[in-house]
């Protein structure tokens, strides 16, 4: 009886430790974030922050080397960033992926940015051909949506379109953002894998 109770007790403790380990890991996990730099300038009294991403057709390493992703400055998949409420967010996206095309052509329209426009390689644009879209940067809750022009499929490695735009950060809160191009290669309708996984083609903007 004593031996049996001891075995049960030891197994319970081991199980508790294992469960506690994974719960601690989960609760304490901080996803990779994108470093945001505060500008010394202000626009109409608003602070200005610069946020930069690079989009690639495949990460090349890690758990999912073949997945498409937004990368931070370190070259790692990262889709979380923090900005101050009311600030002017200056986005720069170095778009290195080729075009997939939009399922809904409407998302080829630039909307919700300052002036409802963007620049692509310093050229002002308000829309692109939906078939030339590699990705979008879209924050539905604040109506920001920007199509990202794809590079030619035979472009040399490292070729990119530099997409820049600005929007005003909303009130404090957490806002999800995502890509509307079905770019999850090899998944049903292209909407699985990286499209359904935070840190690749979906993320959160935390406004505080």
């Amino acid at each position: 009886m004593g031996l049996r109770a001891s075995i049960v007790g030891i197994c319970t403790i081991i199980a508790g430790v294992i469960v506690g380990f994974f719960v601690t890991q989960y609760m304490g996990h901080t996803p990779p974030t994108v470093t945001v730099s505060m500008s010394a300038n202000t626009v109409e009294g608003r602070p200005v922050v610069d946020v930069s991403f690079t989009t690639v057709g495949s990460v090349g390493s890690g758990l999912h080397p073949n997945w498409v992703a937004y990368l931070n400055a370190d070259g790692n998949p990262a889709t979380y960033f923090h900005v101050p409420a009311g600030s002017v967010v200056r986005m720069t996206i170095n778009q290195q992926d080729s075009a997939t095309g939009l399922r809904n052509p409407y998302f080829a329209l630039v909307r919700g940015t300052v002036g409802n426009e963007m620049t692509v390689n310093k050229k002002v644009m308000t829309s692109i051909n939906p078939d030339d879209s590699a990705h979008t940067f879209t924050i539905p809750d604040i109506g920001v949506s920007v199509p990202l022009l794809g590079v030619a499929s035979n472009a040399p490695s490292g070729a990119q379109n530099v997409v820049q735009f600005e929007f005003i950060a909303p009130a404090a809160g957490t806002y999800r953002w995502q890509c509307f191009v079905p770019c999850g290669a090899g998944t049903l309708y292209g909407n699985g894998g990286p499209m359904q996984t935070l840190g690749y083609m979906a993320g959160e903007m935390v406004v505080s």
């Binding site: 809750d141 999800r176 995502q178 509307f180 292209g190 909407n191």
Partner: protein
């Protein structure tokens, strides 16, 4: 039957009567969701109110009988072991109960059938073969297409050049014919305040009609589990506005959509983006 048992019966009958009457007064006079922001919502609200008013006395009667049984048949500790009484059928309450049940259920069936028959034609019924919209007039319903995609609703207004917007704005007092479809997986468009809830199914055109009767800002959301951001596929910016405000808004959207209009597909009740060109 003992005097004590009769006392219990009278007491619980009185409690049930008070509960039933008080509850029914509250249900009849109080607001009932989804309230009155459209004719469809008002109709649903009335149906729910009628069902609740009928159901509440039945429900409270069940509670009263349970409570009566617990109290009337309770055996005090000092009474020791009491053999259970032999139960014999009593035809009078049985007949009363069965008759009441039949009357209530059949009445509700008739009422529900009539309410359904009187509902807006096309409500929830696919009319994928319906003709495309004609230019709007005051008497025609305004057609608004709801396009669901992972994970945002967009809306097309075919009578205004087929413009598409991510915000739903409707004119008050105008009958709206919603055409709901999806570009990828199954979603469900739920405009709770208007009483509209329609599945958005790829290659299907799900039609609902409703006439907004109150201006305001409302919530729309997806009510079909559809992936990562399903819980966020909602918007609190759907608006019902005056006709003049609606006209102004439409003009703004037409100007805003100008760069993209040439790329939008011709208006159709369903769309078939080629899935083979994606995800491969």
């Amino acid at each position: 039957m003992t005097d004590k048992r009769r006392r219990y019966i009278r007491m619980f009958a009185l409690v049930w009567f008070i509960l039933a009457v008080a509850g029914d007064i509250g249900l009849a006079l109080g607001p009932t969701p989804p309230f009155t922001a459209s004719d469809l919502a008002s109709s649903q609200s009335t149906v729910i109110k009628v069902l609740s008013v009928i159901a509440w006395p039945v429900f409270s009667a069940v509670l009263a009988v349970i409570a009566f049984t617990l109290f009337a048949n309770r055996v005090a500790p000092h009474e020791g072991d009491v053999p259970p009484r032999e139960l014999r059928g009593d035809s009078r309450p049985q007949i009363a109960w069965i008759t009441a049940s039949i009357v209530i259920v059949l009445s509700l069936a008739v009422y529900g059938t009539v309410a359904l028959a009187n509902d807006q034609p096309g409500a929830g019924i696919s009319t994928a073969s319906a003709s495309l919209p004609q230019p709007a007039s005051a008497s025609d319903p305004l057609e608004v297409q709801v396009i669901a995609q992972q994970w945002w609703f967009t809306y097309r207004y075919p009578t205004y050049g087929g413009i598409e917007t991510p915000q739903l704005v409707l004119p008050v007092g105008q009958k709206i014919q919603f055409h709901v479809t999806s570009l990828d997986v199954v979603h469900s468009f739920w405009f709770y305040a208007l009483g509209v809830k329609a599945d958005a199914v790829p290659l299907n055109d799900n039609v609902f009609t409703a006439t907004p009767s109150q201006t305001g800002t409302y919530r729309v959301q997806c009510s079909e589990l559809c992936g990562l951001w399903h819980g966020n596929m909602n918007a609190d910016d759907a608006m019902v506005v005056s006709s003049s405000d609606f006209s102004n808004w439409i003009q703004q959207q037409q100007a805003m959509d100008a760069p993209i209009l040439k790329y939008l597909p011709a208006y159709s009740h369903t769309y078939a983006p080629n899935p083979l060109s994606y995800g491969s």
